[in-house]
């Protein structure tokens, strides 16, 4: 099982906390140092019940220079990117954009993800787009299940979806097959995709 290979190195493994904070500021383009921890973000977050630190906790870790702890947390992977936190923040911090940057940084820094399943799922989706130009849900599910060595959970849900024709057996494809290769090359993704 291969889920933690670095994709693109932009920050050196020896980066200091300050380097990392500067990188987070530059890439997220949001001034998270304004956060005064009112916790509105956590109150609105639909997945905060499953998080360890909750969104403002991740910001606090970064403010305290504990970037590695933030990168190693489940929270950055559990974040769905629903933008609710960004909408409610009284300091106008785009927390969802910050979470994106934290995920990218965790991958780049080679941090072992606290939620390997979620990263594996994202990779299967991106690999599906690489292959077909569109997502093929059935294949994504099957490949994800194989990768996670979990073939039996949700078996009933899968069968129900198949019976209701919610899962197509064949993928919907784009006809320009070269274009995805071009995009992936431009993004410097390895030619065999994300960890197959």
């Amino acid at each position: 099982m291969e889920t933690t290979a670095p994709i693109r190195i932009t920050a050196k493994p020896s980066s200091t906390h300050w380097d990392l904070i500067r990188t987070i500021l530059a890439q997220s383009r949001t001034e998270f140092r304004r956060c005064f921890h009112c916790q509105s973000c956590g109150g609105g977050c639909p997945v905060s019940h499953a998080m360890t630190y909750r969104p403002n906790g991740i910001i606090r870790l970064i403010q305290l220079g504990l970037v590695r702890e933030a990168l190693q947390s489940s929270d950055i992977w559990l974040c769905i990117g629903c933008n609710t936190c960004s909408m409610v923040c009284p300091q106008a911090i785009d927390i969802a954009a910050l979470m994106d940057v934290m995920r990218h940084m965790a991958i780049e820094e080679g941090v072992s993800p606290a939620e390997p399943g979620i990263l594996a799922f994202h990779r299967e989706v991106v690999n599906s787009i690489h292959r077909y130009g569109r997502t093929h849900k059935l294949e994504i599910m099957l490949r994800y299940k194989i990768r996670m060595l979990d073939m039996f959970s949700d078996f009933d849900v899968g069968l129900k979806m198949l019976a209701k024709r919610k899962l197509d057996l064949r993928p919907s494809k784009i006809s320009d097959r070269k274009v995805m290769k071009r995009i992936f090359e431009a993004c410097r993704v390895p030619p065999n995709g994300y960890g197959r």
């Binding site: 639909p46 499953a50 933008n83």
Partner: protein, 285 residues
Amino acid sequence: MAMGADAIELSYFPGCSLATSARENNRSLLKVCKKLGYRIVELEDWNCCGSSSAHSIQSDLAFHFACRNLALAPAGRPLLVACPSCMLRLQQAQLHLKEDPQACETYERMWGRPVDPNLDILHFFELLEGAFRAAGPELKTALKGLRFVPYYGCMLIRPPALRHAKDYHGLMEKILSACGAQPLVWSHPSRCCGTFLSVAKPAVVTPMVNQIIQGAIDVEADCIVTACAMCYLNLEIRCSLKHQLPIFHFSELLSIALGMGIKKSWLTRHLVDPVPLLKAKGFMH
């Protein structure tokens, strides 16, 4: 309602969900657009917008996926999007192009054409504004007696960068109540459904979905009406409550309201059978 030869042409980006798992959403939506006087031309060879996964692991990928679709859109024709998530991805890429000259250069190098700054990206909801204003007597009672809760999900929420983009909240209530249905005030109109976590973390998503559906049950709704095909799927597959509510795509109810009924081939794709409700309300015989 305009109809006939002077139809307005729109390019259309269906997105992966509407093209496959939510085909009933796509078909009802196309029917409604036609009835409202629009000629819909599917964007030729469109690709996935990148969904939640591309931007989660690499922003360049998300940008290029969205940009290729923008580059495929013929000039002078608005681009219609039905999926709120695709809408957000395409809008974000367009905003990035407007703000960053370097992004424009990359775009031009990749796609061999200049950025079209005037490309109008429209959500399906935008076609409906005004269309139902002059509702005739038939339309006014078309959905009479249906108590519903509108469920927008989270993707129609706008992140700070898109704060000036159009806000569509309130539209489902406005239009369906013009057709005689009764909108209910409830607790979860824009709560996130859990989206992709449904696959990797079903134990996290089930309580989220149950809360949403319980919220609708608490106000004694007959059904939930969704704006998003992804939300629709999660509400159907992840609810573990004993009592489940039928879920409708907004476009399906519009099809009933406009007198075109609801097709059997759409109904058979519902996991929670809506037929008893439709029959009880007299929308189906």
